[in-house]
Amino acid sequence: SGDGGGERTENVELTVMAAASLTDVFTEIAESFEEEHPEVTVVLNFAGSGELAQQIASGAPADVFASADTTTMERVVEAGDLDADWAAEHGEEGLVFATNTLMIAVPPGNPAGVSSLHDLTSEDVSTAFCADEVPCGTATGIALEAAGLEVAPVTLEEDVRAVLTKVELGEVDAGLVYETDVISAGDRVKGIGFPEAKEALNEYPIGVLANSESPERAAAWVDFVTGQGAPIMREAGFGTP
């Protein structure tokens, strides 16, 4: 990769670390970005937000970090890994570029006849949630609190994808996942919206990293995601601020 400056005309790599749930959209956005900036090759590194934060803390050579939740971004900020100049301009806690709302996902045919959040409290409905430690779990907690409901899930999954798998295979009768997941799963699950979801918006912050060898290009990527990328995000089911 380039050795500083970033003023070279030859090909430059831009490394973006992004939460796994952004795989589809970022892959698409990166293609558009490369069309507009032919000198740049975007290298995407997807993993769980927590693992990415760990890699950044260990000095990973990355330019941009897009987290699936604000908590993880806070950890990166605390460690001083965000580019100071960029942060001063766009926000100390990163820039929220997308939101995601929860939906109830049920297997096709909805065997348990779920139609509302309240139905999940029934003993006969087995439910899968995200674990409290991961962003969708936090959101789930907030939504349930807002609805004033107590639900006993059979499992607390490590990520939203795992919840979706259980629903798809019919192992549980319902699960709380993001709207984006319901969309990507096509007709393998059926999504059911519920009003309390608005209380529990999950926010995706993005930021330029202190380690970046070309903060300008990194900033350009962030701009591109929030600008031209927004329609792509919305198409996938994300909300954009």
Binding site: T72, V154, L156, E158, A162, G170
Partner: protein, 274 residues
Amino acid sequence: MTAPTPRVGRGPSGNGTARVPWVLVLPALIGLLFLLLPLVGLLVRAPWATMGRRIVDPDVLTALWLSLSTSTAATLVSLVLGVPLAWSLARTEFPGRRLVRALVTVPLVIPPVVGGVALLLVLGRNGIVGQYLYSWFGLTLPFTPAAVVVAQVFVAMPFLVIGVEGALRGADRRYEEAAATLGAGRVTVFTRVTLPMILPGIGAGAVLCWARALGEFGATITFAGNFPGTTQTMPLAVYMAMQRDPEAAIVLSLVLLLVSLAVLATLRERWMSV
């Protein structure tokens, strides 16, 4: 051959004490260092100040107990099923044996998460076999401690099978013949002769199997889910902690490590030094 002049003294005759064979000891040291350095990293990074408090957390103890009991159960199941399987692969001839031998390694190569999915496809509520378990006996395996054991057996048993098979192939079969002439049938030969003779190999295999089961994550979380007290084993707890608080994850890992080291240091020397 005409009468040879005998050699007296051979090579640069040593002064007596056997020299250290560096060609062997050096790589061994490097290997050991490499395996242990990361542990040092964890120890350095561990939040010693808050350590005590974190460890006595009842949730941690629950997860630890679940881990130990399920992985021990998985090892026992693996021994019961895997040792005969290894024996069949090493001591009998049947068509397609070569393929079967390779197939045994399937769970090793499959990414554990996919393995978990595969288990769901077969043993889940709507699975190929699971649907009958459900409709006939009202049994659902996923989300129970039994599912944890199943996932661990699936992932860890091949280690036992392959290890034991290697030991069987290395064993001298003439002792088995001798036992047969004394009237021992194949089963008696197996239990009274073969088994005791390959005990070090079985010990090694069981250690691998137990350790692999203890560290199992992907298949467990996919097939058995993650519910504290029921299916949340230590690795799952570690992963969850990792999401929020990497230091807590390190503490949990160290706990897991300490316990397993204690178990292994106690058991292994006894098992393996036959």
